[in-house]
């Protein structure tokens, strides 16, 4: 580990033409203070595709319908299709057509991203205001409306990462440069 850090410091000095005399010294300037467990927990809100970070709690499709109608439908439409903002439902099978419709059901590769994004950024006017149960429930409703989970499925930290999204295999890495010259 120490070797790696020292190497990084040397690399960065070389890149920026530093030569100020720090390169040979320890990587540590002694700045920063140890983060407390509470500080990390307060901000550590990301949910990985394996489900890492998912909190306790659970939600059902009927509960989600209520939360969605109260806190999401005004922007996304009563059914998740007709709203002024991003369409959430439908579009499956459209990606390779002349009119692709990118929604949760047609495009999103991981169900865990739903929890992560809704928790951190929604509702638009009150981000991070939903309880874990509310987030799980809205996620359940959105997945069900997209035909991905049955109406009686409970979504929680165990079941969500196991949900297979229809477009899970739809992403490729960056092949550029990909356009022939002249």
């Amino acid at each position: 580990m120490y070797t790696y850090n020292a190497a990084l410091a040397v690399v960065s000095m070389t890149l920026f033409g530093g030569g100020v005399g720090f390169a040979e010294e320890s990587a540590s300037y002694g700045f920063g203070r140890p983060a407390t467990v509470a500080e990390v927990q307060a901000w550590d809100i990301d949910i990985g595709p394996t489900g890492s970070g998912l909190p306790p709690g659970r939600g059902t499709v009927p509960q989600g319908a209520i939360t969605y109608a109260g806190k999401c439908a005004s922007c996304h439409g009563a059914t998740g299709i007709e709203g002024l903002q991003t369409q959430l439902i439908g579009g499956q099978g459209s990606l390779a057509t002349d009119h692709p419709v990118k929604t949760i059901g047609s495009f999103w590769p991981y169900a865990t991203t739903l929890y992560d994004y809704i928790r951190r950024a929604m509702p638009w006017n009150a981000p991070q205001s939903l309880t874990p149960d509310e987030v799980y429930a809205v996620v359940a409703w959105l997945l069900h409306q997209n035909g991905i989970i049955p109406a009686d499925m409970i979504i929680d930290a165990q079941t969500l990462p196991a949900v297979k999204m229809p477009n899970r295999g739809g992403f490729v890495s960056d092949p550029r440069p990909d356009v022939p010259s002249r």
């Binding site: 920063g32 140890p34 356009v179």
Partner: protein
């Protein structure tokens, strides 16, 4: 694209010279009064002609005293075009390569947060030896680096995928700007926390109402990414991520997380919404390219450009070229829609991952013209035609549109955006 804010702003700019002038006139009047009637009778007609009171001879009147923070010149009315989610840089009226900080484009995902820099912290955790938290004072104590770099939104020119949409270069290419950025290398700060050897990705998170997040491959960002606190000599503008933002040379603006509050090291990408549902490039076969970070070489003629009108005679064709892969090597200009090309003059210094200003002296004879610029970067990559780009990617990929831009000049001198 206009908004109430914009109109208000225009109005207030117009007020400034007026107020200044009233002040000067008042001073003159009182000074003249103090001199007595005889003197006033002699002086007033020459100093304050009734019809030309806005054009007093500045060599005969003391000027304004120094001010703590300057204002721009009377008549300089360049404005960003604003929408609810972004604003666009007015390249058609700018010079050189530095975008004035107040005109740097904006893109945010739920507004510009209000952050107290003294309270702001950067947390580094995950696969590190020592989870650490840094104050802004500590960030600014690290050895610093300054680089002049472009930042381009991957959606810049994105509406052009579906046809010639933008009327002006501000609308077609306004989601990019260049600033001189100062900060500390990401590598320096991560080393302080101790990177564990299994780390491959870094999650960067903003302190805005979108808690904006992107996963970044460590092997790339460790080379030259900066944690920046200053822009063009002063602290970052609020809309540019004050007090701290990532700047990754040559990468799409979305990856340069603003209002940075957290870096989490991990073994794999975190698959956030902004790197799955968004900022991925849909191809005609229905697959989508992911983690397409680099902005490929691109150029555009900023003058003459859409919405402008030129006169026959000498016209200096001016534009910008840039590449996320390094330095611009050449820029060529065509006046016949790509049938023939001539080299443009490049303004030195030519910096990597930075706007390069190009110029081409030209005499317009009043005929129909299809004006284009085409750049190549130091890797040998040549900016593609629209036809070649669309042949490779279709028209639904939304992001990373870098085709040659065509401006049509009609015989009346009017310039419009066309696709050929």
């Amino acid at each position: 694209m206009s908004s109430p804010d914009q109109e208000k702003s225009v109005h207030s700019n117009r007020e400034t010279p007026e107020e200044e002038h009233v002040g000067r006139r008042t001073w003159l009047t009182s000074a003249v009064s103090a001199m007595g009637l005889t003197a006033a009778g002699l002086i007033v007609p020459s100093l304050l002609p009734a019809a030309e009171q806005h054009h007093s001879d500045p060599t005969r009147v003391p000027g304004r005293i120094p001010s703590p923070y300057g204002t721009r010149a009377p008549g300089e009315t360049a404005q960003r075009l604003t929408t609810a989610t972004h604003s666009l840089t007015p390249h058609q009226v700018l010079h050189g390569i530095i975008t004035p900080s107040a005109l740097h484009f904006e893109r945010h995902h739920n507004g510009v947060p209000t952050i107290d820099p003294d309270q702001h912290r950067l947390l580094i955790h995950g696969l590190v030896e020592r989870p650490l938290t840094f104050s802004m004072n500590e960030m600014m104590r690290f050895p610093s680096v300054t680089r002049t770099l472009f930042i381009e939104c991957s959606g810049n020119s994105g509406k052009e995928w579906s046809g010639p949409t933008g009327k002006t270069v501000q609308e077609t290419h306004g989601l990019m700007s260049t600033s001189e950025w100062t900060g500390v290398p990401l590598a320096t700060v991560l080393a302080e926390a101790g990177i564990r050897s299994e780390t491959a990705w870094v999650l960067a998170e903003g302190s805005d109402a979108a808690a904006m997040t992107r996963s970044l491959p460590l092997k790339d960002v460790i080379k030259d990414a900066l944690l920046c606190y200053a822009q063009n000599g002063e602290r970052l503008r609020p809309e540019q991520g004050h007090p701290l933002r990532l700047v990754i040379p040559g990468w799409e603006g979305n990856a340069c997380i603003k209002w940075l509050r957290r870096l989490k090291l991990g073994t794999a990408p975190f698959m956030t919404r902004e790197e799955t549902s968004r900022y991925t490039d849909l191809m005609p076969d229905g697959t989508a390219r992911q983690f397409t970070f680099v902005m490929e070489a691109k150029s555009v003629i900023t003058s003459p450009s859409g919405g402008q009108r030129i006169e026959p005679g000498f016209v200096e064709i001016r534009g910008l070229a840039w590449s996320g892969r390094g330095k611009i090597a050449t820029v060529e200009v065509s006046t016949d829609g790509g049938g023939s090309w001539k080299p443009a003059q490049l303004q030195v210094p030519i910096l990597p991952m930075c706007h390069t200003r190009f110029r081409f002296g030209w005499w317009w004879k009043g005929d129909d013209v299809l004006l284009q610029s085409r750049c190549a970067d130091e890797t040998g990559y040549v900016q593609p035609t629209r036809a070649a780009l669309v042949a490779a990617r279709g028209v639904h990929s939304s992001y990373h549109y870098n085709a040659i831009q065509t401006w049509k000049i009609a015989r009346d001198g009017q310039v419009t955006n066309v696709h050929i």
